[in-house]
């Protein structure tokens, strides 16, 4: 046992300096900060069709004919965000006659399986266009490259390390998310206020960038960060952690890198008999409702699920030979604030529904999303 620990320790020390990956990139930070302010192009009120930055790619040359088959290699539907997104996607398909067939394969959160899935689709499916939502960036790059050789590829959510896809669709990004929440806290509190940062998991790129951006802004504003804890996205653990912090001292604000456990964190304050401080959550219905019911001082940055619609729209445009924003299609990433909170709260929707879905006008809303 001792040997193992020593070996692991030695290994670790050799690793740490090399592989503290850079999730704190000032350039990217500044870029996303600008993009949050930028006026998006495209139809107003339909953010899933809007884009920031004006580059377009022509797809007529790809020579596809409608109707065509679209294949979708999905990293997974293993969390509510992806469930809402996938529902958006399925509903959006109904708007596109040019997509005759839609084949969905689900990798259940495994890189290895997703690579195999893409190979399967290439070997046997009659795919004309492929949409990929990669499980992780680096691992899926070779598979996506192979897919690119065979057909046009649309990538969304996480990217890949290649520019071969027709377009990579994503909202502004993790820095933007972190910035919105942290700036809200600094605008509400004075220097030296106690801020607790709650994080889901280490190592996930989109979450790490949220954290680094949030931390940078809080530190620059002179906030006292009392702790940064991982919750594993587990409500019970979140509640326990917050309770433990409350036993040790007061908290003026809670910043979270994802909103899944926001309500549990709020309940920790309630159950321990404390006032609810300034809160950064996300656009999940349970948080929005709590916010509205309790009159919180809060903000809900979003990582909009409407990008799943956009992926289908992009595929349809490829088939129809229409131009689309690319090679990057940057979608706007609005935050829900006090002023527009009422627009997003909908008691008919399930607690884990992501309100920034851009789906309210779709045909089967709200039933398809589990609402009444």
């Amino acid at each position: 046992m001792k040997h193992i620990l020593m070996a692991a320790g030695a290994l670790a020390f050799s690793l740490t300096p090399l592989y503290a990956q850079n999730f704190d990139d000032p350039q990217e930070f500044a870029k996303q900060r600008d993009q949050l302010q930028a006026e998006p192009m495209g139809p107003e009120g339909q953010p899933w069709l809007q884009y920031i930055g004006g580059d377009m790619v022509d797809t007529a040359a790809l020579g596809l004919e409608a109707p065509a088959t679209v294949c979708f290699s999905n990293a997974g539907v293993n969390n509510p965000w992806r469930v809402v997104g996938y529902t958006n996607m399925v509903e959006e398909l109904k708007n596109h006659a040019s997509i005759a067939d839609f084949i969905h394969v689900d990798a259940e959160g495994s890189d290895d399986k997703q690579i195999a899935d893409i190979d399967d689709l290439l070997a046997g499916g009659d795919c004309d266009v492929m949409i990929v939502s990669p499980n992780t960036t680096a691992a899926l790059t070779p598979a996506v490259e192979r897919a690119c050789e065979a057909m046009p590829v649309i990538v969304f959510d996480r990217g890949v390390n290649t520019d071969c896809p027709v377009s990579f669709i994503h909202p502004v990004g993790g820095y933007g998310f972190g910035i919105q929440g942290a700036e809200f806290i600094t605008s509400k509190l004075d220097e030296g206020a106690n801020v607790l940062m709650l994080r889901i998991l280490p190592g996930v790129d989109v979450l790490e960038t949220r954290y680094s951006a949030g931390r940078r802004i809080l530190e620059e504003a002179g906030m006292n960060i009392v702790g940064a804890e991982f919750t594993d996205g587990d409500n019970a653990k979140t509640k326990s952690i917050v309770e433990d912090y409350l036993m040790r001292g007061s908290i003026d604000a809670v910043w979270m890198d994802a909103g899944a456990t926001a309500v549990a964190a709020i309940e920790a304050f309630e159950d321990s008999g404390y006032d609810i401080p300034v809160f950064v959550g996300e656009d999940q219905q349970d948080f929005l409702r709590k916010w509205q019911d309790e009159g919180l001082t809060a903000i809900a940055p979003t990582y909009p699920t409407y990008q799943w619609r956009t992926a289908v729209i992009a595929a349809a445009r490829v088939i129809e030979g229409e131009p689309l924003p690319g090679p990057e299609w940057v979608l706007p990433q609005p935050a829900i604030v006090q002023e527009n909170l009422d627009d997003y709260v909908n008691p008919a929707m399930p607690p884990l529904h992501y309100a920034m879905c851009g789906c309210e006008e779709m045909a089967d809303y709200p039933q398809a999303w589990g609402g009444n």
Binding site: H3, A7, S14, Y19, D111, D112, I115, A139, P142
Partner: protein
């Protein structure tokens, strides 16, 4: 005298257990063909597709070959998933894109596997800790050490090393040939070496093995070392396939429980002493076929899980229901 002693064993001309994995595999294949035909997707019945199916679960197959060894000696290894992550990360960090470091990285990964296997074996055979607990504890320790220092994809494997996962020799992927070779080697070890014979003896009746002069502790330890080294190789394969290693790839693939399920579906009994590596390969193929059937039939991923759980139990019941032994 015990019940067994006084009851003459009935002679069985047809040994069901030997053929059961093939029957199951045949069944899975038939279902695959039928589903492909019924859904009008005959394009899935080509040679290329067969190869793609065979190549679906290489990492699982490599791990399961190792798991076969420990299960045959009536042990079990739950630490393979975290070991896969650890070796994948170790290899990709040591290589760090440099082709010159491929060999040292492979050696380092295998050494780590050997060390973990040795420790597992010592704890199981020396301290007499139940193997389930010993390897579960080991799994937590490895995962903890790993994620203490690495939290994302770390390092990068050079293009040359990606040959392992992506290279092709004629129509066959290199990794598939490697898996075949590994299976043949494992079969040869079990069939032709004294060590292989000892494994069956220790798993079948430890006391009898000890009386025959077999150093049972050594056999258990060596089996664990083989199992862990196989897991390291699976880790190397995944590093090659994913271009890098991350601390979650083993647990995301559920290689611990799935490798056990594959071995058991292949007819190796958890109590040890019976089974073999070809059954395990059949089990792996059954898993791959089921996955492919789900994909071509477009089964919803949640329903897929439900079915998978039922299939595992049903497959094991297929063997076990005939035994009269009380199990717990």
């Amino acid at each position: 005298m015990s019940i067994a002693e006084d009851t003459p064993r009935r002679k069985a001309g047809f040994r069901f257990e030997r053929w059961a994995p093939l029957i199951l595999l045949g069944g899975a294949l038939a279902i695959y063909v039928v589903v492909a035909l019924v859904t009008g997707q005959a394009q899935y019945l080509t040679f290329d597709n067969l190869i793609a199916i065979l190549g679906r679960s290489i990492a699982l197959g490599i791990t399961a070959i190792g798991q076969t060894f420990v299960i045959l000696v009536a042990s079990i290894d739950l630490s393979v998933a975290s070991l896969i992550s650890a070796t994948a990360v170790l290899a990709s960090v040591v290589m760090d894109g440099s082709p010159a470091m491929i060999l040292p990285a492979i050696l380092a990964a295998i050494a780590l596997g050997g060390l973990v296997g040795l420790t597992n074996g010592l704890v199981v055979s020396g301290l007499k800790v139940n193997p389930l607990i010993a390897t579960l504890g080991m799994s937590l320790i490895i995962q903890g050490c790993l994620s203490a220092f690495v939290s994302n994809f770390a390092g990068e494997v050079p293009a040359a090393f990606q040959m392992f996962a992506y290279g092709e020799l004629g129509p066959f992927p290199v990794a598939l040939l490697f898996l075949g070779l590994l299976a043949v080697m494992a079969w040869a070890v079990l069939r032709f070496t004294k060590f292989g014979s000892d494994i069956y003896a220790v798993g079948g009746n430890e006391e009898a093995a000890r009386f025959a002069g077999i150093k049972t502790g050594r056999v258990v330890i060596l089996s664990h070392v083989i199992c862990s080294i196989c897991a390291s190789i699976a880790g190397l394969y995944l590093a090659s396939r994913l271009r890098s290693g991350a601390p979650w790839i083993g647990s995301d693939g559920v290689y611990d429980l799935e490798s056990i399920a594959v071995v058991v579906i292949g007819g190796t009994v958890l109590a040890g002493g019976r089974g073999g590596v070809w059954g395990t390969m059949a089990g792996m193929l059954i898993f791959s076929l089921i996955d492919s059937v789900f994909n071509i039939a477009g089964v919803d991923s949640f329903a897929k899980q439900v079915l998978r759980g039922i299939i595992i139990v049903a497959a094991v019941a297929f063997y076990a229901i005939r035994s009269k032994r009380i199990v717990a």
